[in-house]
């Protein structure tokens, strides 16, 4: 069985040069960093907050904070990982504001391992995403990931959507590597379980198409 190949990351050879130039006050260099990572920050923010306006605010605030704190960036990690850490914190803060009644933290340990144990084992249609239009598919995927606890979907989006390594994810979220792996496994299994109802092989002819 094949395995998952990570996304090919954008070349970062000149990232440090851009950071140095931005630290020296070169606004053009900082703008290039914004152009390079704004889409990623927006995706991460919307995955976490599940709210478009909040995601827009997170993009602005994360880059502004990065700019304001460039002098404190020690360059021990990639600039992108440092930026992601800022963006995740901003996104979680906005989520807490919207849901003050619920604890929102990356440290929360969700229930037990049993919450992620597969309950339904059903094979999927050969190309399940083709059972739906692009719009329907986006709705399904959005609704499905929205049901995950914030700490799970944060790890999932960093590792599986944005392609950060386990180590980079741990660094960005200030979690241990075992904690990242545990959350990632549970996020993946819960998403799989929830997608079953849309994608499973329907031999009885009661499904779509």
């Amino acid at each position: 069985m094949g395995t998952i190949q990570p996304k090919v990351a954008e070349p970062v050879s000149d990232e440090l040069a851009l950071v140095h130039a931005a630290k020296a006050g070169d606004m053009g260099a900082f703008e290039e960093l914004v152009r390079r990572y704004d889409r990623n920050v927006f995706r991460i923010a919307q995955h976490i907050t599940q709210n478009r306006e909040d995601a827009e605010d997170v993009v602005q605030d994360a880059f502004l904070k990065a700019y304001q704190n460039l002098g404190n960036f020690q360059e021990q990690s990639k600039f992108y990982t440092w930026l992601v850490r800022i963006a995740v914190n901003e996104a979680l803060m906005r989520l807490r504001r919207r849901r003050p009644e619920r604890m929102v933290s990356l440290d929360e340990d969700i229930k037990t391992e049993e919450d992620s144990m597969p309950r339904e084992v059903a094979d999927w249609a050969p190309n399940p995403e083709q059972l739906y239009t692009q719009g329907e598919l986006r709705d399904i995927l959005g609704k499905t990931i929205q049901g995950l606890p914030p700490s799970f979907r944060t790890v999932f989006v960093l590792r599986d959507v944005e392609g950060l390594s386990t180590e980079e994810t741990a660094d960005a979220l200030d979690l241990s590597i075992p904690a990242v792996k545990s959350r990632l496994l549970r996020a993946r299994l819960q998403l799989r379980e929830r997608l079953n109802k849309y994608f499973k092989n329907r031999t009885g002819g009661d499904g779509k198409k």
Binding site: M1, G2, T3, I4, K7, G25, M27, F30, E31, V34, R35, D38, R39, F42, R43, Q46, H47, E53, A55, E56, D57, V59, Q60, D61, F63, L64, Y67, Q68, M117, P118, V121, A122, D123, W124, P128, E129, L137, R138, L141, G142, I145, F156, D160, V161, G163, T166, K181, L184, L185, R188, L189, L191, R192, L195, N196, F199
Partner: protein, 106 residues
């Protein structure tokens, strides 16, 4: 190897983050355990579908607006820093504070 053992290793298996011997043991388990085969395959598809879905892409027009807003705030920050360093220049123009509540671009 039990199914429970397999599931614990599933993430490392999909990420190819394991030694050759453990990998061989997992693949041996997959040869005869249909349930784990299905779970492994559908979990892999889950990841691929999300990765390829372009969920929450940033539209170009919004991207331009956000970038302009970010750069304007950075300029304001830089200006206010200069003003603090040189208080006599403060009268030259108004300072714009960038509070979280004022970040909306539209």
């Amino acid at each position: 190897m039990t199914c429970s053992d397999f599931l614990k290793e599933l993430t490392d298996y999909l990420d190819e983050a394991m030694d050759a011997q453990t990998r061989a043991e997992l693949e041996d388990h997959l040869q005869w355990c249909h349930n784990c085969y299905v779970i492994c395959n559908t979990t892999k598809r889950t990841i691929e579908i999300y990765r390829d879905s372009h969920l929450y892409e940033l539209p170009d027009d919004l991207r331009d607006k956000l970038r302009s807003a970010i750069l304007a705030k950075c300029h304001n920050h830089q200006s206010s820093c200069c003003d603090e360093a040189h208080p006599s220049k403060e009268a030259a123009g108004p300072k714009l504070a960038a509070s979280p509540g004022e970040t909306r671009t539209k």
